[in-house]
Symmetry: C2
Subunit: 715 residues, 2 copies
């Protein structure tokens, strides 16, 4: 029913018409046996349809957070107090829509998927028949089909991805690293907002995907880096390329509009214009340094012959200035359809007859004040001024008397009227029929449009990365299969754009895999550690990195634990949250991971905190063997470097001798070794704490350092 269509249209995940450039995912999540989760994501506006299966609620939550769906279909028999669901409701800005349980049924879902994509789909994309991912995909298809809008036509491909293809970034880490939104919740000041220089919506969507889903495929990343390198060094060619992109519309979304039947003539013209961007890009690349980059291969991926055919077909069909509505007529060029041309010719002939009829009547019957016109009630009529109304010939039949004139019809006029109405109707019907046929032919080539759109988006995203790299003096990272992370003069990609930044080196490898970072408050320890994570992440997104040079051994995941102010302000037991995050890292990280710990154990008693931090360090170093940066106020931990071969100390250097009476200046330069000065006591001195207290604190500190018992000075 019409009503149903309207309510469906309003569902946030199936809204085809949207003014938002971002991807707009409809997601389904199904818990399978033994803690496996099936996930399916469909962007109805572009036809993208992805499925995967992951282990455990945390991984499912991380994937969902990454895609940020606008609507979520939680699996069958879900309980409202399900912990995963509660977490998702809190962290995602998604409508939760409950669907009938049977739509998640394995048999029914399998049937739906096969019916839609072919009998051997599951085998060919490497998806197990029993995977809960199939159930999730089936539920999405059922829901989309249920809208009755035919939008699923644009979902021409089911893509199966393995989480292993991507870097593991849990939801907490995505938030901590402020990839697309800051801790405060805005997009301004987040990594994506800072580096985004794309010119088109599809380019922006793709770059966002690259940033939130970095890869582990060295070959793929090398191609991106090659492209960025060529584009970064060829400024003129890059600008020419970006100029071409200005003409590109959102092909994926246009394909989806064609499939759902909502595309108008202007949309098809946009398809034509955007398909022309492909050869334009090729022309812009020819005879420039970009000719030897991966860009030509990238542009060759879509079926270019089919694209040219479709473009020619659209060019031959649609006029350059088509009307806004498809029922208005005037969409098609002359010569596109013989029957339509004939109808148009006859229509115009009749219109010419009527246009000249008044003159003929005046001439033939010696009348003045004659006009021919039509309106709704009278149809066509000859109108004669009252002064000469009695001079009309006999075959004029009066139909209406007005104040100053009379209206007449003739047999001839009535016949012409019948004919022109017949022709008009036939022309409208034929034109609409032809348009629908054309739109369906475009919809049938959704895959082609998606491929072409994707190629254009990739050029945009790569050019954006190159543009930012060139403008900010970023460098190409050397990706290796090894364990090292060597950064010379690295910077924080966001902070460097807003403040004068002191670059710092970082050296991590198998033999020096665990850095204990000490130094005073506010000295930039957190920035230094996040910088390490972001440089790794950017390298694995295919981007250049903010450093003089960087060797990045590919990691399988980045895990972070940093103090969360918002939770503090909410008065939650931060220590429990802190321990849960630590627990997740200890369980998930591998020797190929990068771990960032910004204070662990501060939420509890000192001895407990030190003990937990100590034991966690040993565990990460001995068992997990992950590359780790650990900022701590527990000076005790710095002795670990003496005992554990892979542990080293670094500290943020501070200028000025404590006790010299001059203020402390933070250089924000990171150096090897533990911090060796008592900034705390120095600050206490600066703050005016009485001399005897400052002196005594120094004594106590000495005893603590010597690990001697302190004897209280009593009175």
């Amino acid at each position: 029913s019409k009503y149903r269509e309207i309510t469906r249209l309003a569902s946030p995940g199936t809204l085809v018409e949207t003014t938002d450039d971002d991807a707009q995912y409809l997601a389904a999540v199904v818990e399978g046996k033994s803690g496996e989760y099936g996930l399916a994501f469909a962007d109805i506006t572009t036809g993208r349809f992805l499925v995967t299966a992951v282990d455990g609620a945390d991984a499912a939550s991380a994937e969902l957070y990454r895609f940020a769906p606008t609507e979520l279909l939680p699996g069958p028999e879900v309980r409202t107090d399900d912990p995963l669901l509660s977490r998702l409701q809190e962290r995602l800005d998604a409508t939760h829509t409950l669907r009938p349980s049977d739509e998640f049924g394995p048999g029914r879902a399998r049937h739906r998927v096969r019916e839609r994509f072919g009998e051997s789909t599951l085998e060919s994309i490497g998806l197990d028949h029993d995977s809960p991912a199939v159930q999730a995909a089936g539920a999405i298809l059922a829901y989309v089909d249920d809208t009755g809008l035919g939008v699923s036509a644009a979902m021409s491909r089911l893509q199966h991805y393995r989480p292993d293809d991507h870097l593991d970034l849990d939801a907490t880490t995505q938030r901590n690293l402020e990839l697309v939104e800051t801790m405060q919740g805005g997009s301004e000041g987040a990594l994506f907002d800072t580096i985004d220089a794309t010119v088109s919506s599809p380019g922006r969507r793709l770059l966002r995907e690259w940033i939130t889903r970095p890869r582990r495929d060295q070959e793929l990343l090398a191609r991106r880096h090659d492209a960025v390198e060529s584009l970064a060094s060829a400024a003129l060619a890059r600008e020419a390329l970006r100029d071409c992109l200005d003409d590109a519309y959102d092909l994926e979304r246009l394909a989806s509009r064609a499939a759902s039947g909502s595309a108008d003539a202007g949309d098809l013209l946009a398809v034509k214009q955007t398909l022309a961007v492909l050869p334009a890009l090729e022309d812009a690349i020819d005879d420039t340094p970009l000719a030897t980059s991966p860009l030509p291969d990238l542009l060759a991926k879509p079926d270019r012959a089919a694209a040219a055919d479709l473009r020619e077909e659209l060019d031959a069909a649609i006029r350059d200035d088509p009307p806004k509505t498809v029922t208005q007529g005037g969409i098609f060029r002359e010569g596109y359809d013989e029957e339509l041309d004939e109808l148009i010719e006859r229509h115009e002939e009749l219109e010419r007859f009527l246009d000249t009829l008044a003159d003929r009547e005046k001439r033939e019957h010696g009348l003045s004040h004659v006009t021919v016109d039509r309106n709704k009630t009278d149809g066509y009529y000859i109108q004669v001024g009252k002064s000469v109304a009695d001079q009309v010939p006999e075959h004029y039949r009066e139909v209406k008397t007005l104040k100053n004139s009379k209206r007449f019809v003739t047999d001839e006029l009535e016949e012409k009227e019948r004919e022109i109405m017949r022709v008009e109707e036939a022309r409208g019907e034929l034109e609409y029929e032809l348009f629908e046929e054309l739109r369906e032919r475009v919809a049938a080539r959704a895959e082609l449009l998606q491929d072409a759109g994707r190629a254009i988006a990739e050029v945009d995203a790569l050019a954006s990365l190159a543009d930012h790299a060139a403008r900010n003096d970023w460098t190409r990272p050397e990706l290796t299969d090894g364990d090292a992370l060597h950064v010379e003069a690295g910077r924080h990609p966001v902070v460097e754009t807003t403040t004068e930044f002191v670059p710092n080196d970082l050296h991590l490898d198998r033999d020096r895999r665990f850095l204990i970072v000490t130094g005073p408050n506010m000295s930039g320890k957190s920035t230094y550690m996040r910088q390490a994570a972001l440089i790794t992440l950017l390298a694995q997104a295919g981007s250049f990195v903010p450093a003089r040079s960087a060797e990045v051994g590919l990691v399988d995941g980045i895990y972070t634990r940093v103090g969360a102010l918002d939770e503090l302000a909410q008065g939650r037991s931060t220590f429990m949250v802190e321990m849960q995050e630590l627990s997740n890292i200890l369980h998930s990280a591998t020797e190929d991971s990068l771990v960032i710990l910004d204070e662990v154990g501060r939420g509890t008693a000192t001895y407990d905190g030190i003990s937990i931090a100590w034991a966690a360090t040993e565990y990460l170093h001995n068992e997990v063997r992950a590359k780790t940066l650990f900022a701590t106020h527990y000076h005790e931990l710095t002795t670990l470097a003496d005992h554990l071969e892979g542990v080293a100390n670094v500290h943020v250097a501070v200028d000025g001798e404590p006790g010299e009476g001059n203020d402390v200046t933070f250089l924000r330069t990171v150096r090897d070794g533990p911090t060796d000065r008592s900034y705390g006591i120095h600050v206490a001195d600066l703050a005016g704490v009485p001399g005897p207290v400052v002196d005594r604190a120094g004594d106590v500190l000495d005893r603590l350092r010597e690990e001697k018992a302190i004897e209280a000075r009593g009175s």
Copy 2:
């Protein structure tokens, strides 16, 4: 000029008309020699005018924060980068108004004060001639006089107070204890908002003053406690008293309005009505248990004979329903002034003549359709209908012809007109003159009104304290000159109203003067310590306290240092702020003070933090000897109890054995001794940290407790 008056009226500190019940202080601060600060505070709306001198910028800042002025006149030659001024600009919501330097000149200020309050004022209030307080007072007088509104007339007394009269509460402590506003900035949930049950604005102002400026005078406080005790136990008499207070207006503000000439007849009626509250209160006390309380003495303080005289005078003068504007006439009762009575009588006679004139003319001259009326252009006239206009007698002089009538005057009518205008003018002038005289007589008794208003406010504030005490089962504290603070089953006055509260004991005295409070996060350590401070503060405000019993040795000040979330969120170096606050406490507290420390040293490296906390504890215990509660995560500090005679450990008890696998339950019961369990490691276990890490953390903890070096387990 008029313009100047208007701009002056807009100045926040000199705005007489206000809808806000709170005191509205105009303050001046002058830095004298050797770090002394002179302060003057004037509440223009009530005429209160206070001066003091304090030592140092911190004390000045504390006094200013306490009075929360709406406008501040900073002393002469002040620099915009003055640190005190910057701090005040940040913490106070006050307009800063710069005044000419010479108005702060010592000679000129002295002259102004003597001119206003008499030659020997300074001597009689015990203020040194050279005190910067005199300069501050002079600057305020100059500013208020400059408004040209005569409001300074209500400032009938200059009161000199010594900061020693009051408990020392620095600005940080006022904020930390959330006396009148919470850390978040609102008033809801603050101590004052919670306990305020006053029924009048002056009562509310006074109670707020008591809470923010507790006293050190045992005799004065005993009187307040006696009154609260009587009122708390005599519920019926208390309610009767509070009913009487419903009729009370704000006498202090009415006096100020009278002085500034803005009081209208309704205001004088309000003065009369409020003066009648004094005998009404006395009647409500007679023959009740309150007759033996301090209340009768309190009500006897204002000059009751003078109050009765003024009340009679006002009653004899002003009608019960006076007009809204003083120029409207009809304010005074008959018999108040003979001349006025005569004028009114003559006026009414003339009006009667005019009212009956039309009838007389009809009768005498046989006219119909006659009316007598007045308007602005024609004055009084006789209007006659057109049909009979030609029958008017000869002495009628036509003045105007209308469509259906004509207007006439006569010599007689013109004469009466002149007379009635003369009488009206004379009556208006005399009435306004009489009103001004009466208003000035009221203004001249500003002191009486202030005394009476104060007495009524005190009854209201005491009844409010009694009401809250009775409703919440509070108890009378036993005030002593000693050092003890013994609280049985104490509660937090605010928290107990919103949550189910576990009462706790507290024992502090000379021999057990320093408590180290340990226990897990969120277990209520902070609430326990604030509770101790608030019970002491309430006792010294004259209030009952939330406890089964409480012995409170009078303290000279309360000092607190607690973590400030807002500063954390602003990204400031919290450690510097922390050390400045600690420094202030170590310098300011005495052996008669109460000190609350909620974590010290956490903003820096552990060893530094422990060292500073250790040295500060020794200093407070040995040198300052203040009663202190110190909550800490540094378990190391608990050993201090073994060495320092006045140090004891207490901890928040927790239910359930760690390691039993059951969740931790916080009993929030405070017990003697240090906390002896590893909640941190237990929570880590609950959070799912891998078993080997939890076990190893336990080992490390054991070594730490035994003060043995920990050997890292390497790989």
